[in-house]
């Protein structure tokens, strides 16, 4: 058996160990590699930065704890930016398990920037039904949320007084890990023409480039990397930036594994070995 054959038949658990080490070591011994800001994150930052102080911004944090790794640091960074610019944030979530996270993100950012509940931001909490809520806010926010998360009527909250639909808001920001983003594009932006900025998980990010080009969305923050870039733009260090060394190392490992797998296959084929097993992975099949 050649080395190539041996490499190809390696136990997958060895690869698992490699990945685990690739994540753990940089967390324990960080080297703080530099982070460059990409144009789409910059665009998101600029769009928010350009809003005049006092503008109302609707922020929907549509995610649950399972993917908070990517979206929670992003929420905190975006909120801190909003508070610094003295924008008035109306925050909500479309996931029941998102209420705890949303509240925590608001508190963290408010504490860091000295923002005050109801004066600088309102927390509306959860309401079920994606399309239902988005279309509802186009017409009557109070129909969806008569009171905020804490039971206060919206008219008693300075931030929401006089705001009842997208047309009274300067921007909608959606941070999501699901098809909620598609619906925000279809309804808040398409149907009601609200300017929209999107933050999403990295998986989804590539799908939204057509909407950036058509200006249906003004900026895109993708995944933990995007969040790290945003943290850099507002000059803070959060969990996203702390994770970036590990991110780099594991990417390198995966890329090398792909290359190694292919080289080994090539060599084994050259040596005329029968590789047996289940063939996998060509597009034509």
């Amino acid at each position: 058996m050649t080395w190539a054959r041996k490499v190809l038949s390696i136990d997958r658990r060895i690869i698992f160990l490699l990945v685990a080490a690739g994540v753990a070591l940089p967390l324990l011994r960080p080297v703080n590699l530099p982070i460059t800001v990409t144009p789409r994150v910059q665009a998101a930052f600029d769009a928010i930065d350009a809003l005049p102080a006092g503008s109302k911004v609707l922020l929907s944090m549509d995610y649950e704890p399972d993917i908070m790794a990517e979206l929670f640091p992003m929420s905190v960074a975006v909120l801190r930016h909003c508070f610094r610019k003295h924008l008035q944030v109306i925050a909500m979530t479309l996931y029941p398990a998102g209420t705890g996270l949303g509240e925590r993100a608001l508190r963290t950012a408010a504490k860091a920037e000295g923002a005050v509940l109801n004066k600088d931001y309102a927390w509306l909490g959860y309401k079920s039904g994606f399309q239902v809520v988005m279309i509802g806010i186009g017409e009557n926010l109070r129909g969806m949320y008569p009171v905020d998360f804490y039971g206060t009527p919206l008219d008693s909250i300075p931030v929401t007084r006089g705001v009842n639909a997208y047309r009274q808001m300067a921007m909608v920001i959606n941070l999501s890990g699901s098809s909620a983003t598609d619906y925000w594009i279809q309804f808040a932006q398409g149907r009601f023409h609200a300017p929209l900025v999107v933050g999403c998980t990295a998986v989804m990010a590539t799908d939204y480039y057509p909407y950036l080009s058509s200006k249906q969305i003004l900026g895109l923050v993708g995944g933990m990397k995007g969040a790290a870039e945003y943290e850099r733009l507002i000059d803070t260090v959060g969990d996203a930036r702390r994770g970036m060394d590990a991110q780099s190392l594991v990417h390198l490992i995966v890329a090398l594994l792909v290359i190694l797998g292919n080289v080994a296959l090539f060599v084994a084929r050259r040596a005329g070995e029968d590789l047996g097993g289940r063939p996998a992975g060509s597009m034509t099949r």
Partner: protein, 270 residues
Amino acid sequence: MLRSEAVDQTLDTRWFDPARLNILIGVLLFTAFLVVNIFRARAKSDLYVRPIAGLKALDEAIGRATEMGRSVLYVPGLSDMSEVGTFAAITILYRLAQRIAEMGCDLDVPCYDPVVMTVLDGAVRDAYSKVGRPDAFRPGCVHYVSAQQMAYVAAVNGTMLRDRPAANVYMGSFYAESLLLAETGATTGAIQIAGTDKVTQLPFFVCACDYTLLGEELFAASAYLGREPVQLATVIAQDWAKAVAAIAVTAALLLASLGHPTLASWLRAA
């Protein structure tokens, strides 16, 4: 309902939004394509739709499951009835269940969305009745697992490893679970056939499954499997719409470049 005094009370009283005329025309034109092609299909039954690799494999998979005395696992995607992929999943399962009923192997359909479960249960029952084997239907073969994504994956992964179905079929809208399911399935040695309109997940299905239907092929497959004229007609209507879209874009682009942006801005207005 509570309404604030301070809020802008200018309520809209128009009965038509003229800015949306283009969308209305688009919808009507497409409806016309659909109707015309249905009549065409009824008139002559040999409309061409290109064959889709992977569909034949479904029969193969059922055959193998029957031989081995094991079941076929059908995962209908993790979405609800507002997603097209789910409808394709329903139609495909309806066909597949007929074959399965004929061949007499076991079928297992774990569901993510309770409404989809209800619908699939009806479809599978009907499929068994249609081929004259209502008695072979096993109540509970279509069952709800969880509307929480990862709980669903955990359970289905467990099922795959314990029950070792001979074939795993994934059809519909898939998200992060695609690779976890397909990889686990691959380790059990089952034949795996996937199809999804969620393009992000395609690389993973392609890499872990034996056959994969790419994107829209999923919709076409549900038409192709039935070979019903009406279903084929919709595939062709979609093709017409694509052709019109391509022509419209090209024309709008040319005209705009020559200084006549009317068509381009007509497309834009919403």
